[in-house]
Each structure stands twice: as C-alpha cells, then as structure tokens.
C-alpha cells in the first residue's frame, strides 16, 4: 500500500512538473527505503505487537486516545484546509506561475543544488554519513562493552573485514547500503 502511495505521489509530482523529484521519489522511497523496511520487518518479526503485560501503573492509551487522535487529525485537516483555501494568495487557485521549459528538470535542479542551495546540499551529504554511522552504532552486533580488558570488540571497521560466516545481519546491511547513495549524490 505504501509503495503504491509513494508511486502515486510521484505521479502527482510529475503533474507538478517536478520530474527529477518524482524520479528520486520512486528510486529512494519505493526502492531503497521500502527494501530497508522489508528487511527489518523480516528480521524483527513483523508487526507483531508482542504480548501485553498488565501494567499496574497506568493503562495504555486506548479508545480515548484513538478518538483524540482522530479529533486532532481532523482538526488539523480542517485548519490546514482553512489555511489553504482561506489564503488570499492568488496563485493558489491557479495552475501555477509560468515556468521555463527546463523547470523541474534534473539539470535545473542540479544547477540550483550547486549554486543557491550548495550549503544545504553539502550538509545533507554529511547528514547521510552521520546517519549511516549512527545506524551502525545502533544496530551493530557487539561482543560486549569495551571494558579495557583487551578483548577485541567489533567496530565499524569490521564491515570491511572478512567476517565469519553467519554473522551477516541487518546491521551491516544498514551501514553498508548507505554508501552507494553518498557516492550517487556525489557523482
């Protein structure tokens, strides 16, 4: 369902003359992110919520919470719609401003990315690196705390080492997968 949602969203993007973004949407989301999800779901065991243990200290949010959530969500929709529809901006009810033929093309986007949005772009690339490192830190299987006894622990470097059979887990997958993206955006 999510994949179809993402793809239809991409179609909307196309309609809005954002070809590159639409493509990226399909590749990144429908491709990479969903694959990642699938892996993790299969690793963790699906949407199984696990057994509930009776917590004496407080009841988990139940129907009231659901109701409140719908209430809030509904109110939010209404507010946003009022904002959108009540806006005095002319452009909003039109079909958009006139645009150059290259609007939304990869070239124009790339141009923007390397000129006006150079800084966010570069920082985003660094962000990916950091996220990768973070994911590795979190998901890595470790031998234990590095307690100073000299017992070797597994570090991020292990990814690049020949690993013993049977240790291939999602952790490496998570860490390893990101690098191609960095390369991709860099190229």
């Amino acid at each position: 369902a999510l994949v179809s949602h993402l793809i239809s969203l991409a179609v909307l993007f196309m309609l809005l003359r954002a070809q590159f973004v639409a493509a990226a949407q399909v590749v990144v989301y429908a491709g990479a992110v969903m694959v990642l999800y699938t892996f993790v779901v299969s690793y963790v065991g699906g949407a199984d919520a696990g057994p509930r243990n009776g917590d004496p200290l407080g009841r988990p949010p139940g129907a009231a919470m659901t109701l409140a959530a719908w209430g809030c969500g509904g109110a939010l929709v209404v507010e946003l719609l009022i904002a959108v529809l009540g806006s005095g901006l002319k452009g909003i009810s039109g079909h958009g401003a006139p645009f150059s033929p290259t609007f939304g093309s990869p070239a124009s986007i790339g141009d923007l990315l390397l000129t006006r949005f150079l800084a966010p772009f570069e920082i985003a690339s660094y962000l990916l690196l950091v996220a990768a490192v973070g994911a590795v830190v979190l998901a890595r299987r470790r031998g234990g705390v590095d307690d100073g006894t000299g017992v070797p622990v597994i570090t991020a470097m292990d990814i690049f080492r020949p690993r013993p059979p049977g240790t291939g887990t999602m952790a490496e997958g998570v860490g390893g997968r990101v690098h191609p993206i960095v390369g991709e955006t860099d190229a």
Binding site: L2, H5, L6, L12, F13, L16, A18, V21, Q25, V28, Y29, A32, V33, L36, Y37, V41, G45, A47, A49, G50, P51, R52, G58, P60, M65, A69, W70, G73, L76, L80, V84, L85, L89, I92, S93, G94, H95, A97, P98, F99, F103, G104, I109, L112, L113, R116, P120, A124, S125, L127, L128, A131, A132, G134, A135, V136, L138, A139, A171, V174
Partner: protein
Amino acid sequence: MSIAWYLAVSAVIFAIGAGGVLIRRNPLVILLCLELMLNAANLALIGFSRMWGNGDGQVFALIVMVVAACEVTVGLGLIVAMHRLKLPMNVDEIRDLRG
C-alpha cells in the same frame, strides 16, 4: 487542476500521518507514518514550487527525501537494537521513563 487540490491532498496525508503516529503501537508502523508526514510536506513543497514557479521547493523536497532516508535508517537501527535487548515492539510498553 488547481494547486489548491494538491495542497488539500497534502494536508490530508499529513493529518493521516499524524493520526497514524498517535494510533499505531508498532514503532515500525509509526516510522512509516512519519514518512507519510514528510511526504505530505514534500507534496506541499512541490506544489508551492509549481505555484511560484521557482525551483526552491523542489530542491527542498529532494533534501527532505535525504533527511527522511536518514531518519528511517536511524529509526530502523534503533528498532534493531531494541530487538536485541528483547524489548517489546510496542511503544505502549516502553515506558520506564515517566513522572
């Protein structure tokens, strides 16, 4: 089809995402709902970009995608770590910290 329709769709998606975060208990699903919210924002950005006729929104949307990917990565990493500690996959049962 006027821009307003796109924005309306975006608003609905955003609200669905927000509601989903509130209602679902599985962190994985919550992460997906978060993606939904970001996507809604993306749609709005693209829409506005189209409206104003400048590419700022599109670039913004691209970068949001990166960010979304990063969040998902870290989120999934965290879920894996939780799984390792045999923590329940239910946010309602993770409440040692309170008060």
